[in-house]
Symmetry: C2
Subunit: 350 residues, 2 copies
Amino acid sequence: MQHGATGLQKLLVASLLTLFTCSQGLLMEGSKVNGRYPYQTAVVPFLSEVLKLGISAVLLQWQLRRNPRGTKITRGWGTAILFPIPSVIYLIHNNVQFYTMSYVDAATYQILGNLKIVSTGLLSWLFLRKHLSMVQWHALVLLMCGAATSQIQGCGEGCNSNGLAAPVQGYMLGILSACLSAVAGVYTEFIMKKNDDNLYWQNIQLYTWGSIFNAAALTLQDFKSGFREGIWIFSLFRGFTAATYLLVLNFGCAGLFISWIMKFGDNIVKVYATSSAMLLTTLISAWLFELQPTLQLLLGIVVAAISLQLYFLPPENVGHSPSQRAGLTSRSSSKSLDMRHLEKADKELA
Amino acid sequence: MQHGATGLQKLLVASLLTLFTCSQGLLMEGSKVNGRYPYQTAVVPFLSEVLKLGISAVLLQWQLRRNPRGTKITRGWGTAILFPIPSVIYLIHNNVQFYTMSYVDAATYQILGNLKIVSTGLLSWLFLRKHLSMVQWHALVLLMCGAATSQIQGCGEGCNSNGLAAPVQGYMLGILSACLSAVAGVYTEFIMKKNDDNLYWQNIQLYTWGSIFNAAALTLQDFKSGFREGIWIFSLFRGFTAATYLLVLNFGCAGLFISWIMKFGDNIVKVYATSSAMLLTTLISAWLFELQPTLQLLLGIVVAAISLQLYFLPPENVGHSPSQRAGLTSRSSSKSLDMRHLEKADKELA
């Protein structure tokens, strides 16, 4: 029963992911006091990893009680060693990101990050043998362009970016960063789909490593600061407000949605959900701060919406009919093909 | 023989139109002396109308001598009264443009002008019963977005535009102007395709009216200025340089290509040619003036290129295969349809 998911379920989870990702920016803003975060920011991802681990453990227990035979669990080193790798990739990614930011400004880094959309498609095709049609490849490039368009700094906005004038190393590192992030996603999809193990069992393995790596990062931070703030574990919730708890809950839920999508959907569904969230957040922010949305935002949203439609359009809506083939292409064989297309469509309708 | 045109011929004429439109901006720049035009600018469209009229008359004579039976010529008021109308529409359009420019700046006017791309599609569908597939409608909206993206005034460029902050009347007039321009195009396509009259005969009727209207505009201008510059007809070529003659020749050829496309192609082929020319001109200008092309220009070019491919993509390259239907859509009926798609494709390949 857990092995398949209907299109409606995928749409629901993708929409929830969009919604949750969308509210992350607003919650982060809301968790500030006097313009700064009154808590240790690295605690939030750690707590959300622990939360996901706890929820997955409870759900696995429930599954085991409800359907002990149908809940598949693979133990052994062969599978277990695959699970720390995503955390390792993210660790490398964070370091590359740090170096990139010393060459390019935040706005340029954000724009370069959209390369992840196309690199995710390429890596899915290379390593997961995901076949994409011509239109779907075009749709991915369009999503990248739409997202980047919305992030162009326009006339009159505070100009922090000098356009495309960063040093070449900055672009190289930005591209590397986008690829690493895609590699982590594609690798996670690979281990989630590798066998038909129960999703929650796979989650437990993933989040155990996630918790360990985040705890290690916090400890390292304490060492670096010479324990000025004490030991992180004794001041976990210091400075937390309702918004911070909601933020942890939000990150936790979003993470669970993502691993569901990795198992039953794919990375590209995730990419669409997060890109849509970025565009919606920008639109909502403009509305909240009573600013007029910029032309580039509106154009970006239209291009991304068309990309979404093209990617998920059922093939029967895509075909061209002969009457409109008066365009530039003209081949003797394509006409008969078109006719069959049309005849088929007629039969479908009848 | 004149009744059909191969895809290759259409591609050739469309490419020539792109090339000629592209060089118009550069020739106009080249015809300036000390930063201003040393000739009366309204003379250039008049002379190009006369040039087109002359070329069409010569070509018609040649056709009549070569193939007197195959060269169809319809005389009579019923058809003749249709030909001044495009000139009348352009006259109204020019006046609307003038009023629009008093509400919005040139940059905003140019961006609004891209609405013509979609309005041309809508009017072709309404009045010429042109059927467009879903993907082709999407492609038209994308072309509009791509063209508009390339025209966004970026960070650091001289800010003459205040973004989307013009008064509502300005937008309304801008939309009206874009629609009028589309109406003129669709109407011209209608009269060119209405019967199988010889193209050059139709051109003669079209350009006779074009010459008359342009001559009237020049005379009106003389009256308004109180004949300070004398009578326009006696100082036609005053201030002309080689670049100005080339400009007249360029406008003339581009006009002849357009009427060929109206007869054997359609307005949408023309829209793609002129939008591509706009993007190429911007790219070439950046290169000529040794400026770095802006991010918005590069994004606009990618989006427009994808639009072009999607619009003219043969249907057999568009279909999705079942393996990639793991996306959001899932219908019991669509699966079997996909299978038939694939089986058909297999047969095609065999």
